[in-house]
């Protein structure tokens, strides 16, 4: 019963038409643009590379969580507040209560993932839109963070975490760099610029791969594998695509959604721990607006806002675009407030293109 009205599809077209196409074009455009306007500013020198890669990795970590959750049909607007909350909890536990850093980090993860589960269960049990439930948590968690921080330390910034976490192996998973020796060797053989003066003379300008980037890559690979290759990934698509139809064939939709809320909270906590270890301190205002930045990355990456469609690779490319634009304008010497203008424009263009591509793939009208 092949329909003679269907045009044959060329393999090139099939390879081109994929959810990430919009984001891939965006990446090419953004790189071309900054190679032109900021090519000689050091943006594409090793230290510059590290600069925007780290920023992109930050976005990517929360975007992976937001992506899977959005495909499962839900939102989490409490990600930013969760980042602030997790940092302050970890700092209070180590600096104020004197807990060993590894225990503090594990407790923080447990508390935050628990809060993610509460978010999810509230959405499932009440049947309210996750937009409202997590908006409430955006305020609740931010308020709790400031209150707890002032209650225990009389200030909103808690320092001394790096000293407290010195030599702790779980803390080391979130701070510092790996492949130090390899980068030193690259410096020694002249493939990587080294410092010529000062205390760090002879050391390469890039010390190694920051753990933040390692986490980002790890989470992207895990997220992509989970979504695209596993049975659970199929259930994520099904839960967001049509929850009732999924339930009728026996997909545990509620479990999938709650687990995705927990995973989003996990990603936010990873972000918070990396930030705390990097700065050596926690602050109650960390993570402001991160929930929206995560959602922007995911949407630039081709995911459908109402769920059931999207890709983790797309979200990661969205994070890359975000990071490159934010840091690139700085390298280009542009007025930093223009960043938001640029970002808004990219968002609109990406969404228009993604909508068009999605209609081609899914036959929506």
């Amino acid at each position: 019963m092949t329909d003679e009205r269907l045009m044959p599809v060329s393999s090139l077209r099939r390879a081109m038409i994929r959810p990430e196409l919009g984001a891939i074009c965006g990446v090419i455009l953004v790189f071309a643009f900054f190679l032109m306007v900021a090519g000689d500013s050091g943006m594409f020198a090793p230290a510059g590379f590290q600069n925007w890669l780290v920023v992109s990795a930050q976005f990517a970590i929360i975007a992976v969580g937001a992506c899977l959750l959005m495909i499962a049909g839900e939102f989490d607007l409490s990600v930013g507040s969760m980042i602030g909350f997790a940092g302050v909890i970890a700092a209070i536990l180590t600096v104020q209560w004197g807990l060993p850093a590894w225990l503090a980090i594990l407790v923080t993860f447990a508390v935050c993932i628990g809060l993610g589960a509460i978010n999810g269960l509230l959405v499932i049990r009440t049947g309210l839109p996750s937009f409202i439930v997590t908006l409430a948590f955006l305020y609740i968690l931010r308020g709790l963070t400031i209150w707890l921080s002032i209650l225990t330390t009389r200030q909103t910034i808690i320092g001394g975490v790096r000293e407290a976490a010195e030599g702790d192996w779980i803390a080391a998973l979130f701070g510092g760099v790996i492949f130090k020796g390899f980068f030193q060797w690259l410096g020694d053989i002249g493939l990587l610029t080294t410092f010529t003066r000062g205390a760090r003379a002879g050391q390469p300008v890039v010390e190694g791969v920051p753990m933040l980037i390692v986490w980002a890559i790890g989470l992207i690979i895990f997220g992509h594998w989970l979504l695209a290759r596993t049975r659970f990934g199929n259930w994520i698509f099904a839960s967001g695509g049509d929850a009732q139809a999924a339930r009728y064939v026996g997909v545990p939709v509620n479990r999938v959604k709650v687990l995705m809320f927990m995973f989003t909270a996990f990603c936010a906590t990873v972000f918070a721990m990396c930030q705390v270890m990097e700065f050596g301190s926690a602050a109650a205002d960390r993570g402001l607006l991160k929930e929206f930045e995560a959602i922007i990355c995911v949407v630039i990456g081709g995911a459908l806002l109402t769920g059931g469609y999207g890709s983790v690779i797309g979200a990661a490319l969205g994070a890359l675009i975000f990071g490159v634009v934010q840091q690139g304008l700085f390298f280009a010497g542009a007025e930093s407030s223009l960043f938001r203008v640029f970002l808004g424009t990219i968002l609109i263009l990406a969404v228009i293109m993604n909508t068009y591509i999605r209609r081609l793939i899914t036959g929506e009208r």
Binding site: M1, T362, G363
Partner: protein, 259 residues
């Protein structure tokens, strides 16, 4: 005639003070198409949801292959070989045919936590089963949204048959379709029936029912008005039963017998 695969005896279903079903008896034998007819609000949906494990009956018993059963969930009903294809909830249009076909029962390969979907097998089986239903897919990865309404119903039917359904409940499969697609779905029903599967065909279109039905049961206001065998009843009589008699008779005369 063979013994019934599933027998619903005197099923009642109450929602608070509302009596949705007031003692409905119904059975399906293998290889027959038993049409369940009724107007909107007659209790057809409640009845098939009871049969497929979504609702628990307030009174009455269900017997599957001689054993009395109680279904706690649609999963239980599916395990007993009762598959339901819902009118508009059959497929998820954003997902590929393969992903829809295997949804909830994905074949896996690999070990422990590293299991992945066996896409090679999944795609191959999907293509083969769809071809058996007379639909040649361009590719198994194409989204269900690119298929026509009739083809979507057929994917859902092929899925149920492949997963070993003994009874297939079709909830108004033809009500949203055009003439040609309806013919395709009716042909699919005939093909499935010949494979020895019992079919419950819910519809309010008498002509579609007459085209494939072996037996006809009419529901009206939560009660059965009896079961008729093919050849013993005319389309007009069925139409009349569905509407509860009088009102339609008046309407029909004013419309010149076109309803």
């Amino acid at each position: 005639m063979s013994a019934p695969i599933i027998e619903m005896r005197n099923i009642e279903k109450h929602f608070g003070p509302v009596i949705a079903l007031g003692g409905v008896s119904f059975d399906v034998r293998s290889g027959e198409c038993h049409c369940l007819l009724g107007d909107n609000g007659a209790g057809k949906s409640t009845f098939i949801k009871t049969m497929s494990g979504v609702h628990k009956p307030s009174h009455g018993t269900m017997v599957v292959e001689g054993q009395e059963v109680v279904f706690d969930s649609p999963r239980d009903a599916m395990a007993a070989g009762i598959a339901t294809v819902y009118q508009d909830l059959a497929m998820i249009p954003l997902m590929s045919v393969t992903r829809n076909f295997w949804m909830g029962r994905e074949p896996e390969k690999g070990f422990g936590p590293f299991k992945t979907i066996d896409f090679a097998k999944a795609n191959e089986v999907t293509m083969r089963e769809m071809a058996r239903m007379g639909i040649n897919l361009r590719e198994p990865e194409q989204a269900v949204g690119t298929l026509s309404g009739g083809e979507r119903q057929t994917v859902a039917i092929a899925r149920a048959v492949y997963f070993g359904a003994k009874v297939l409940i079709l909830d108004e499969p033809t009500s949203a379709l055009g003439v040609r697609q309806t013919a395709n779905v009716l042909a699919t029903i005939d093909r499935v029936r010949k494979a020895g599967i019992g079919i419950v065909f819910i519809t309010h279109n008498v002509r579609h029912a007459m085209a494939v039905g072996d037996r006809f049961t009419v529901l009206n206001r939560g009660k059965t008005l009896g079961t008729a065998v093919r050849g013993e009843i005319t389309a007009e009589a069925l139409q009349d039963l569905m509407a509860g008699g009088q009102e339609l008779a008046v309407l029909e005369s004013s419309l010149g017998g076109t309803v």
